[in-house]
């Protein structure tokens, strides 16, 4: 067994896990690792805030399907990662976060830059480790990557005391890892599959609701195949956006609080609802007691704790989405050969037409839905769109169609403002050949804009389209609708000048006043080799519609 320092063993282990890039920021307690990185062929991208390092690793993971890696020092470096780790946990994104820690003899002594990052991240990681003996580093790294990327994916944290980085020991890189408490169930139970098939055969108004799990298990083509066999509309959650091409005749878009008319109505009217890789989040279901009131629910998820957590299903299936969908379809085609389902699908089409009407702009100025359509038109199908959080995110989810899996990246569960831009950087690193666009709001973008610096320094050109209403738009929308227009603490006062801000980093900035001007600026941005910020002033009075007011059922939509 080779003898080497813990820091060398860490980097060697990362190479063996095929990690190509680390997003991070050095500091005192991780210096020995950075010293090894100095000679390593693993690329390290110096970010300007650890939160961005974690989001970039997350964006990289979501765009590529591979594990993203971020790194920071102890104390504040580690706590700055926390939002990014929590975000990855809520959206089941596989990242490995590596933090420096004070040397072992100092742990528990409140040493300089000591923080209990393992304690802090216990509820927001799939699991976490503190290295206690140097020789266990290879095994811990291997375990971390395996756990992050298998079953329901998620973040794993490794905390490395500084003296384990410098100490030398015999390293065994080939040790087999065994798990006594971790064995994801991949194969669906045949009896449950049979029950699901029976329900689906009898269904007159079936609908499929697909979430991020379909993407995680690479089951998108299986999903579409089943939908086509079944002649069932497919609604998606925010995380599921892109698992069916949104120009597919059976795609009805997103369901939920800002769901499409078609998705929300069909879900409520369905007699059988097949939910796959989704978790019935409150934003997806509206009033859960009145969710799909006459339907039988089949719930496929690889995480058994999701079964029965938010809703009781009639046929639970704990399995990998791909295997479950394939099993169901294989059984279904032996017994089922319906060639038309006209009443249900005609209704679907009528409802979908309402959505198309909503895009048509009325009034002065740039309307966000029309702008989203414009962005889509100018991008190739495989371009990646990330979003910030709030109105910008919902406009993008509703009106900017995704045609391929992993091309729409958004902070769903945690709803992290500031996610979209660093995630775009991570996605661009993963997929340098395709344009990457962050649909942003002015409020969100300011939370992580400092990483324009890393985008320029590391030549990671992305496009930021700021829907600039100079307010915290979604908060203002709620205040307009539910708080009697009392706009408390939402006015952003047109600060800063985003064009000058961009230029000060060496990025391109432009401001547009019409769709025509936007087309010109966006075209230039796509061809630019530096990042571009396009400031698009819009009215602060714009609401994202449709909207289901909180507590309502999905059908009780406000349309304007």
């Amino acid at each position: 067994m080779p003898r080497m320092s813990g820091a060398k063993a860490l980097i060697e282990s990362l190479k063996r896990e095929k990690a190509e890039v680390i997003f991070g920021i050095p500091g005192g307690a991780i210096l020995p690792v950075y010293d090894v990185l100095y000679d390593s062929d693993i690329k390290h991208i110096l970010m300007r805030h650890e939160q961005c390092a974690a989001h970039a690793a997350d964006g990289y993971a979501r765009a590529s399907g591979k594990v993203g890696v971020c790194m920071s020092t102890s104390g504040p470096g580690a706590t700055n990662l926390v939002t990014g780790i929590a975000n990855a946990y809520m959206d089941s994104s596989p990242i490995v976060a590596i933090t420096g820690q004070v040397p072992r003899p100092f742990i528990g002594k409140d040493a300089f830059q000591e923080t209990d990052i393992v304690g802090i991240t216990t509820p927001i990681t799939k699991c976490n480790f503190q290295v206690r003996s140097t020789a266990e580093i290879p095994k811990i790294v291997k375990t971390a990557f395996y756990i992050a990327s298998t079953g329901r994916p998620g973040p794993v944290l490794i905390d490395l005391p500084k003296d384990t980085q410098t100490e030398e020991d015999e390293m065994n890189f080939d040790e087999r890892i065994e798990f006594r408490g971790y064995r994801p169930t991949y194969d669906p139970h045949p009896l449950q599959v049979e029950k699901a098939v029976q329900l689906l055969i009898q269904a007159e108004r079936p609908i499929i609701v697909a979430g991020g799990g379909v993407k995680a298990s690479n089951a998108c083509s299986d999903l579409v195949a089943l939908a086509e066999t079944l002649l069932a509309p497919v609604a998606t959650t925010l995380m599921g956006k892109g698992v069916i091409p949104e120009d597919h005749p059976l795609s009805v878009g997103m369901l939920g609080m800002h769901g499409t008319v078609a998705a929300n109505h069909l879900v409520q009217d369905a007699d059988v609802l097949l939910a796959v890789g989704m978790r019935f989040s409150d934003r997806s279901t509206g009033n859960i007691k009145a969710f799909c009131p006459d339907g039988k629910i089949i719930h496929i998820d690889i995480d058994s704790s999701e079964i029965g957590k938010n809703i009781k299903s009639h046929v639970p299936i704990v399995a990998d989405a791909k295997r479950a969908l394939q099993s169901i379809r294989n059984r279904l085609i032996q017994k089922f050969n319906k060639k038309e389902r006209s009443t249900w699908l005609n209704r679907m089409q009528t409802l979908k037409n309402i959505h198309e009407e909503m895009i048509k702009s009325v009034g002065d100025g740039i309307k966000p839905p029309a702008l989203m359509v414009e962005v889509r038109k100018m991008l190739p199908n495989d371009a990646i769109v990330t979003t910030e959080v709030g109105q910008n995110q919902m406009w993008a989810a509703l009106y900017l169609k995704a045609y391929k899996p992993r091309t729409f990246i958004s902070s769903g569960g945690l709803g992290t403002m500031g996610f979209g831009f660093p995630a775009a950087l991570g996605a661009k690193v993963a997929c340098p050949e395709v344009p990457v666009v962050d649909i942003a709001g002015d409020g969100s973008f300011l939370m992580t804009e400092q990483d324009l610096a890393s985008s320029i320094a590391w030549k990671i050109p992305v496009i930021v389209v700021i829907l600039n209403n100079s307010v915290l738009g979604m908060v203002a929308q709620w205040q307009r609708l539910f708080y009697n227009r009392r706009y408390s603490a939402v006015d952003l006062k047109r600060i800063p000048d985003f064009v000058k801000l961009a230029e000060s980093y060496g990025a391109q900035g432009s401001r547009v006043q019409s769709i025509e001007e936007f087309r010109g600026a966006f075209k230039e941005a796509i061809n630019s080799d530096v990042s571009t910020v396009i400031d698009v002033p819009i009215s602060p009075e714009e609401n994202v519609m449709p909207m289901v007011p909180p507590g309502n059922t999905l059908k009780d939509l406000i349309l304007s």
Binding site: C127, I147, S305, G308
Partner: protein
């Protein structure tokens, strides 16, 4: 449909290493589940510990607890114990005031009836060790109260299934 709340006993085999008790208790706190008692100690395998958790809840809540426990990587096996086929015991140490000989002899009598032991004797107090199910210990404590209970230490329930049933690593 309101489901009935009752006390459930859960047995879990977990990795015997630092941080596991934290991740288990943290999961209970984080998801708003209430622990009535928890006891942890080495199991039949030295690298594994057995946790016995008692909690109050309805059936759906307890099912969710079991699933959330299973989801923790350091938790290896989890079962709900059904009370009829389970031996559940708790140990309590109770320090009772014994100001005079009459009280002292009453306390000693009660202790014998409950098959307890006097494990410490001082001029003004006794420490009694008593084991049994929770009801028995509660009953004994009630009996002691009029004498003046100075301190109580209870271990929480440890439980095993009867006969060949078991919650263990295969």
């Amino acid at each position: 449909m309101e489901m009935k709340e009752r006390i459930y006993m859960i047995s879990a085999i977990v990795e015997h290493k630092p941080g596991v008790l934290y991740s288990v208790s943290n999961m209970f706190r984080r998801r708003g589940f209430n622990i009535e008692s928890i006891s942890v100690g080495e199991s039949e395998q030295s690298d594994l510990a057995r946790m016995t958790i008692t909690m109050k809840g309805d059936e759906a809540t307890v099912e969710q607890v079991v699933k959330q426990l299973k989801k923790l990587i350091s938790v290896i096996k989890v079962s709900i114990l059904d009370s009829e086929n389970t031996v559940a015991r708790e140990l309590a140490l109770i320090k009772v005031n014994t100001p005079d000989a009459r009280v002292r002899s009453d306390v000693i009598n009660y202790t014998e009836i409950f098959k307890g032991h006097i494990v410490d004797v001082a001029h003004e107090s006794l420490i009694i060790e008593i084991t049994g199910d929770t009801d028995k210990i509660n009953a004994f404590i009630e009996l002691m109260k009029p004498f003046g209970v100075r301190e109580i230490a209870r271990t929480g329930i440890a439980a095993l299934q009867r006969g060949m049933r078991s919650v263990k690593m295969e």
